[in-house]
């Protein structure tokens, strides 16, 4: 039992990282109805920019956060302006394929910059373990877990109470109706991509805290997509809960199934979960049910 709990807690910590990645995808989908495959790259670039100022130039933590946020948000804005805006009026699927093209392009730039090397962030979170009755939780992961919780609370507050947030929700309902009530939908789209860039930076920094920055980092976006789809693409709370759940399932699955089948279960478990969710509840566990028979 203790072992199970320990694995579950480790899973929760990893899951919070997945939730952070999924949050950006959900944000974009909520207002623009575009599923962004490119989000993993935003996360990777967020981490890379942070490393640039914190690891390479040696700026203090708070001072390196600001340029990292600004630069990643700028990339988000550029994606919206250059790649997605020309596609307004075309089927949504074209936009989906466009995010795939953006992913590949940014991947090329990322790889070209890294040249196969690794960028390691010096430890910036407190080290050590908290003991909880036989269980141990690393402090730095606890911190990123709390950051994830706070971020989700902040995001839901933004959506609930600010004018921009209300505009985003209105846009999510119906673009034309929103336009009719005086909301500039294009502006909202830009805001959304900027916001998703900001969230991606948080995710990137949190991930770079546990893993060096190297070519595999952008592929965390796939885990984020799985979480976002399983949770329901338009549900922030779904992304949070399912992210945690998936972390636990992966970890416990690897914990109990690996010895039986000879390793490597960790990745596959989440894909099987995704397939099952898609077959049983295609709109996700927490998503808004839009009835459309196929």
């Amino acid at each position: 039992m203790l072992e199970f709990l320990q694995q579950a807690i480790t899973g929760l910590m990893i899951g919070s990282l997945y939730s952070l990645v999924a949050a950006g995808i959900v944000l974009v989908y909520k207002s623009t109805h575009v599923v962004s495959l490119a989000h993993g790259q935003l996360v990777a670039f967020g981490a890379l920019f942070f490393w640039f100022f914190f690891g390479s130039f040696g700026w203090p933590l708070w001072a390196s956060l600001i340029p990292a946020f600004i630069l990643t948000a700028a990339i988000g804005l550029l994606i919206e302006r250059l790649a997605l805006r020309p596609l307004i009026g075309q089927p949504l699927f074209a936009a989906f394929l466009m995010t795939f093209a953006v992913f590949i392009t940014l991947e090329g730039i990322f790889v070209l910059y890294l040249k196969g090397e690794t960028r390691a962030l010096p430890a910036f979170l407190p080290e050590g373990n908290i003991a909880l009755g036989g269980l141990s939780v690393p402090v730095n992961q606890m911190v990123s877990f709390l950051v994830a919780v706070l971020l989700f609370i902040a995001l839901s507050l933004v959506f609930k109470f600010t004018k921009v947030g209300l505009g985003m929700r209105a846009t999510a309902e119906d673009h034309r109706l929103a336009q009719g009530t005086g909301i500039t939908v294009r502006k909202i789209f830009s805001y959304v991509w900027v916001l998703s860039g900001l969230v991606a930076t948080v995710a990137g920094i949190a991930i770079a805290g546990v893993m060096d920055i190297y070519y595999m980092l952008p592929y965390i976006g796939i885990n984020g997509l799985i979480v976002a789809i399983c949770g329901g693409l338009d549900s922030l709370s779904g992304a949070f809960v399912v992210g945690l759940l998936l972390g636990v399932v992966e970890n416990v699955g690897a914990g109990y199934l690996d010895p039986l089948v000879g390793g490597g279960v960790k990745d596959v478990v989440s894909y099987i979960v995704l397939l099952m969710v898609l077959l049983v509840r295609p709109y996700g566990l927490f998503g808004l049910t839009r009835i459309e028979r196929i």
């Binding site: 040249k115 196969g116 090397e117 962030l121 060096d212 592929y219 690996d258």
Partner: protein, 403 residues
């Protein structure tokens, strides 16, 4: 308007193509093809190694080549992708006087080996014991992976006894879930049994895994006294970071193979990596920095020692072997008739070749495909990789496994 734009584009594309195809070839030239991964999972190792090799070749060429023969270094980026590598090999397959192919990756080596046999050429690969078990045209860089793992097990046994423990140590093994990750155990497993080490069921994880806590805790729960972390850096470093944050590094001694933490990673994660033991067939850390043949070449070509990586030296050692092989094959066959097959024959005569101390003397012969037999054990102390043993012969673990 659009059509004209497209036309202009295609004209430019055509120009580029002809420019690229128009290559001036030297009168006397041989080629060396490197199927390396410059941007993928094992790039951290491939980039510096091929830097070393290409610098070495450049300096040889500047001095007039080997007996007037220039060496053409062809580096192809495969991204650890077998399909890309095979099509790249096919592209250069009929190159005049292509004498050696370096297939960096266990999967690529296996895929190209068949073509190499057909073309009567020679190739070098990292360390799959399979090629020692079935002697063919494929040579290893150093000892086989399983030999190096066996040497690590030997060290573990010594360390265990030196600490005054009785009985047998329990050892865990975790690595990538791919051909490379499993190769070590084909033979390594048998060797552990032979010397009485209790090996826990091995753990495999996909490359790029975020956290390795599950595997580590399972090994720890199995009572591991030692854990061998496989994978090419930064994977071992990330594994050990997870172990550190779980508090395992204090209780369990971690070891890695020679693709473990390099000079570059040591600086940043010094505290985490403290005390890790690395078994290496080439000089690492302080040893490598003290080898003036390597460091002088680095300084001449790459400038300051700040970004120095010991894998650079390993690339130079490929170069030394290749140049000696070239000399021997030219002597035997003459330049005009020189073919891949002559290089293959020449490589078998290189036994005892001194590799400037970068690795042990060459061990290629008609029966042996090992690049060298010796390994050295290093321990990371205060962010520096210091040798804790002399060069020692790695035990033959290949013969223990039935391939």
């Amino acid at each position: 308007m659009k059509a004209r734009y497209l036309n202009i584009c295609s004209v430019f594309a055509g120009l580029f193509l002809t420019l690229a195809l128009f290559r001036v070839t030297a009168a006397k030239e041989v080629s060396y093809l490197s199927l390396a991964d410059y941007t993928g999972p094992i790039a951290g190792l491939n980039v510096p190694a091929d830097m070393g090799l290409s610098d070495f070749i450049k300096e040889i060429n500047e001095k007039g080549g080997v007996d007037g023969i220039k060496i053409n270094f062809i580096g192809i980026d495969t991204r650890y992708d077998v399909a890309r590598a095979v099509s790249a090999y096919k592209r250069y397959r009929r190159t005049e006087k292509l004498l050696m192919v370096n297939s960096i990756s266990t999967g690529i080596g296996k895929a190209v080996a068949g073509l190499i046999e057909k073309d009567k050429r020679a190739q070098i690969v990292p360390g799959d014991g399979e090629y020692q078990a079935h002697v063919q045209r494929t040579f290893l860089w150093g000892p086989a992976y399983q030999d190096a793992l066996a040497a690590t097990f030997d060290w573990i046994m010594e360390d265990w006894k030196a600490k005054g423990n009785a009985g047998a140590p329990v050892v865990g093994y975790l690595s990538w879930d791919n051909p490379y990750g499993r190769e070590h155990l084909r033979g390594g497993q048998e060797y552990a049994q032979k010397i009485g080490i209790k090996l826990l069921p091995p753990e495999f994880f996909p490359p790029g895994t975020l956290k390795h806590d599950v595997y580590l805790t399972r090994l720890a729960k199995g009572g591991a006294n030692y854990i061998h972390a496989g994978g090419v850096d930064p994977t071992p470093t990330n594994v050990i970071r997870d172990a550190y944050s779980l508090g395992l590094t204090k209780k369990i001694q971690f070891t890695t193979d020679y693709w473990g933490p390099t000079e570059l990673g040591l600086g940043v994660h010094a505290e985490v990596l403290e005390g890790i033991v690395i078994t290496s067939f080439f000089q690492r850390g302080e040893d490598a920095k003290a080898n003036s043949f390597v460091t002088d070449m680095w300084k001449r070509n790459r400038g300051s020692m700040e970004k120095f990586n010991e894998v650079y030296g390993m690339g130079i050692s490929w170069g030394i072997t290749f140049v000696e092989g070239l000399k021997a094959s030219v002597k035997a066959a003459g330049f005009e008739k020189l073919e891949g097959d002559d290089m293959y024959k020449a490589y078998q005569t290189l036994k005892g070749l001194d590799k400037k101390g970068i690795q042990g003397p060459c061990a290629y012969s008609d029966k042996s495909r090992r690049g060298s037999l010796e390994v050295k054990i290093y321990r990371i102390t205060k962010g520096k990789a210091l040798p804790i043993s002399d060069w020692r012969t790695a035990p033959d673990a290949v013969s223990l496994h039935k391939f």
